[in-house]
């Protein structure tokens, strides 16, 4: 299970990486925005995407839309971990095909729950 963590703040990437490690996911790679994440995804081998929303360059929502539009990536599970908290945004992310949505600040328990739920659903 290889996970790509996309966030423009290295601190947040590190926190998520550590939390994922605690959950038993040791194989993680990082990118600092959508435009650097997309080539990594297109190269293949990523099984799960955790992304922030508000980032310079390509935002998390744009990244999600690109992923869903790409035939080779469209099935990739995507969890959004973001400080974006407007209702219209959550609805928009859901419409764009996000698999889970976690608002910052979050707890390790919430992250665990959402990830488990996603894997449960996609089997």
């Amino acid at each position: 299970m290889k996970i790509l963590i996309v966030d423009d703040f290295s601190t947040m990437r590190r926190i998520i990486k550590n939390l994922l490690r605690d959950l038993g996911f040791n194989n993680t790679v990082e990118a600092d925005d959508g435009s650097t994440a997309l080539p990594v995804l297109k190269n293949g081998g990523i099984d799960f995407l955790v992304t922030d929303w508000n980032m310079p360059g390509m935002s998390g929502l744009e990244l999600l839309e690109q992923v869903r539009a790409d035939p080779s990536l469209c099935k990739l599970p995507v969890l959004m971990v973001t400080a974006e908290a407007k209702r219209e945004q959550i609805i928009r992310a859901a419409q764009a095909g996000v698999n889970g949505y976690v608002v910052k600040p979050f707890t390790a328990a919430v992250l665990k729950e959402k990830i488990e739920k996603i894997f449960e659903r996609i089997g």
Partner: protein, 275 residues
């Protein structure tokens, strides 16, 4: 000559103007054209002077605000940029200060996480040793052990206690460092407060500037045009742009109705959408 005094505010300029106009109309009524022209010239001169005066006053106000931002933080030992003492524009440095805030917070977060990384194995090792020792003691209690076995157990218990002592020292040291790493909050708080203060002063100066500009326009006899018109299509496009790129962290989530306050509300919203 009357009218060369500084106007303390725009009201006094208006009063001055009313007096002059009064004089002007009296002179015109008397048919003293040359004196009337003199009043007109004085009026025009006063108009120009009040304009320069207002611009000058605003410039001074802005300058004071910017200089006020310059003090104190430079004296902090934690702020190690070159304090040349020269009077530089602190607006230019505001960005740098905010970048420094980023740097400090990132450094503190990493230090804290380094210490957590270093402490977790210590705690785990102590727990593991305790578990092994507890099993040894249990075996001891369950069976008839020899004196030698009892001595062995005593020695391993002693070793374990030493390990707890050392581990406790390590944890104490690490926790202290975590505590110290939070010191960034003090400095970043100061920096941000100052930037906020500067922004506020610049804002109120700009508001004044707008008010003066309005006055200046009326002094200059120009009508103001409504230029703040934005078409619905433009507004919709801007809203979409904001939505896609993100609004940033939301403040006052409890009061706002278009914003979720916590993860539970996110979950409720998503489940209402069939998630």
């Amino acid at each position: 000559m009357a009218g060369l005094e500084e106007f303390s505010d725009l009201q006094s300029f208006e009063r001055h103007m009313q007096e002059k106009v009064q004089e002007l109309s009296e002179l015109l009524a008397k048919g003293d054209l040359s004196a009337a022209m003199q009043r007109l010239a004085e009026l025009s001169e006063a108009r120009n002077r009040v304009l320069y005066q207002e611009v000058g006053r605003l410039t001074r106000g802005l300058h004071e605000a910017i200089k006020a931002f310059n003090i104190d933080v430079e004296n902090s030992t934690a702020f190690h940029t070159s304090a040349s003492g020269a009077e530089v524009s602190e607006v230019a440095n505001a960005n740098e200060r905010l970048n420094y805030v980023l740097e400090l917070t990132e450094g503190a977060a990493n230090t804290t996480m380094d210490m957590v990384d270093a402490s977790m194995p210590v705690a785990e090792e102590i727990g593991e040793q305790a578990r092994l020792l507890r099993e040894d003691w249990k075996r001891m209690a369950d069976s008839k052990s020899s004196m030698d076995e009892l001595k062995d157990l005593g020695r391993s218990t002693e070793a374990f206690l030493i390990e707890i002592e050392n581990g406790s020292n390590t944890l104490h040291k690490n926790f202290t460092e975590i505590l110290l790493a939070q010191g960034f909050q003090d400095i970043t708080g100061q920096l941000i407060t100052r930037v906020i203060g500067l922004v506020n002063e610049v804002e109120s100066s700009l508001v004044n500037l707008v008010a003066v500009a309005g006055k200046v326009d009326s002094i200059a006899g120009r009508k103001q045009e409504e230029s703040a018109f934005v078409s619905d299509a433009d507004a919709a496009m801007q809203a979409e742009e904001k939505l896609v790129k993100g609004h940033g962290p939301q403040l006052h989530t409890e009061e706002a109705t278009d914003v979720v306050a916590d993860q539970d509300e996110v979950d409720d919203l998503l489940s209402s959408l069939g998630f």
